[in-house]
Symmetry: C2
Subunit: 332 residues, 2 copies
């Protein structure tokens, strides 16, 4: 029998284990024009929270009692499609199932020689693309400028900061534990990092770590952390809005200081994006990320949880900040 | 004797007549390398409110007991600078004085043949430049898109909407009286206009007047009006922030729904600007504005107040929305 994870109910506020349900089904059998896939690595990401709501966002909502989906690396077990061989590895947006059939649409083949399969969910997958494209296409950082990134020890944030260093910026990260701060400043070469959980006055902390002000703020979290950074931006600052994890479990529209007066007096730009807006940039961006990785300039940081049955908990742990770097679940 | 208007005190909240004081001084005498100017038209603008505060904004604050300044059209009365002849007209950032001397720096000569001198404070002055550059350089509107402009009957807004029509957009204005709504839809060719003072549910009003959603929102006012528009934006919307007149007299940082979650789910861009950020675009933009004006495609709308002694009140009236189009004071 095949194991599957369905959306059991739509959470109000913080999601919990009961929002998911494990079921079994007959082993799927690929027809002509289909392949059978076995999941190897499943990506869990904050944006999945949005798809659990019954409201339009940039991706359509999951259906109740249907399988949850995310980015998955899978192995081809049986093939009836030319171009896919048994033993090939692919990545794509797939269901949370141990085994599933696919017509091959939207799947990318993975170069087995590159080693670590989970890399294709992280550094050279949507995570790395999001970091690279958001930073270069929206923020256009210049050498010598100061880049602040929130959620800095998370999947996207840890790549954003490293790319900022490659591009010659002063990079300051905001994260939620002393271990994460140490990871950023020692292993990932950030110039400074601030633990927002132990810092009473974030405005002053940003001011002190960014003596020349903030030119680029790559925002993964939103809320009060962002307000503190916004109060420190320079003229012509650029503020890509990549995520708002601190807001995803809010049940009312969140309220805070209006940003328009700040953007106006600073001639600053704030821009939301999703990586799929920049589909045409993917080939170049993947090549650039792979090349920096091979040169040792970009380090892939990940938290690997093991076992299909732990996928929901791995997802829930994102909201507690339990991951360092990309959170993936390895399936045996 | 020469009449001068000084900043008497810094307002807290709403400014009033007491914030200004009239004094007299000896008639200024131009030295070598100077010209004597007589003010003909004085521009009053909402941004002046920001300069009355003792806080850094995009322009430095006025000094207490020093003359207030704004854009002024003046006549050359006496000249000791080659290139400036008696009877020439110039525009520039000048003091609120009947007569003043200048070394000529930052002054632009006005083509007398063009007629209406106040045009150089409005349609082909900073007002028109702000409208044209904010719309074309930040929002890049495409034919068939829907443009909403707030403060639509004001100096900048009335030009933004007309340029939107020239560029092929559906244009919806937001203004504060039925007379202004009538001006927009009859004389200035807006497709629709909403009186925010008599409309209880602005969200629905925008939804109804923008059946295809909002692609560009040119924001002159901020506050609740902007929240209603933001709730109606389309994917990839562009939101130039030109002014926040509803906020200028607030004594506490204004609070409201956070825009980041909306910008994120809509891949939308919000950008503050001041026209001087785009100095290199001025020559082309002035030419374009003049040409549209001569072709009758752009109508210059203005409210002309008469008399030097009425400058402060004309400025104060901006916050009551008493102007239609550009507010100028004619000096005899």
């Amino acid at each position: 029998m095949n194991k599957v994870i369905l959306l059991n109910k739509r959470p109000v506020g913080k999601p919990g284990p009961d929002d998911f349900i494990f079921v079994t089904e007959e082993m799927p059998v690929p027809a002509a024009g289909e392949i059978l896939l076995k999941a190897k690595y499943v990506s869990v990401d904050p944006y999945i929270r949005g798809r659990m709501n019954d409201s339009k966002s940039y991706v359509p909502p999951f259906k109740l009692n249907h399988p949850v989906e995310s980015a998955v690396v899978a192995e081809v077990i049986e093939t009836h499609i030319e171009g896919f061989a048994k033993g090939d590895f692919v990545s794509g947006n797939l269901a949370w199932k141990q085994y599933q059939v696919s017509a091959g649409k939207g799947l990318n083949k993975i170069d087995k020689k590159a080693g670590n399969l989970s890399l294709y969910l992280g550094l050279v997958g949507m995570t790395g693309l999001t970091a690279y494209i958001g930073l270069t296409e929206i923020a256009h950082p210049k050498p010598g400028e100061t880049l602040v990134v929130s959620g800095a020890a998370g999947a996207v944030g840890s790549v954003v900061g490293q790319i900022g260093k490659i591009l010659g910026c002063r990079v300051v990260g905001i994260a939620g534990s002393d271990e994460k701060v140490a990871l950023l400043t020692s292993k990932l070469h950030f110039d400074a990092a601030v633990n927002y959980k132990t810092t009473a006055d974030m405005y002053t902390a940003i001011k002190n770590t960014c003596p020349a002000g903030v030119d680029v703020y790559f925002d993964n979290v939103g809320g009060e952390i962002s307000n503190a950074v916004l109060a420190n931006i320079n003229k012509h600052a650029r503020l890509p809005v990549c995520g708002q994890i601190s807001m995803y479990n809010e049940t009312k529209p969140p309220v805070g200081p209006l940003v328009q007066p700040i953007l106006l007096t600073k001639s600053a730009k704030m821009q939301g994006f999703i990586v799929s807006d920049f589909y045409d940039k993917f080939p170049y961006a993947v090549k650039q990320l792979e090349s920096w990785f091979k040169e040792g300039k970009l380090i892939n940081t990940e938290t690997v949880i093991e076992g299909f049955e732990n996928i929901p908990q791995a997802f829930l742990d994102l909201f507690e900040g339990k991951n360092e770097g990309k959170m993936v679940v390895k399936i045996y």
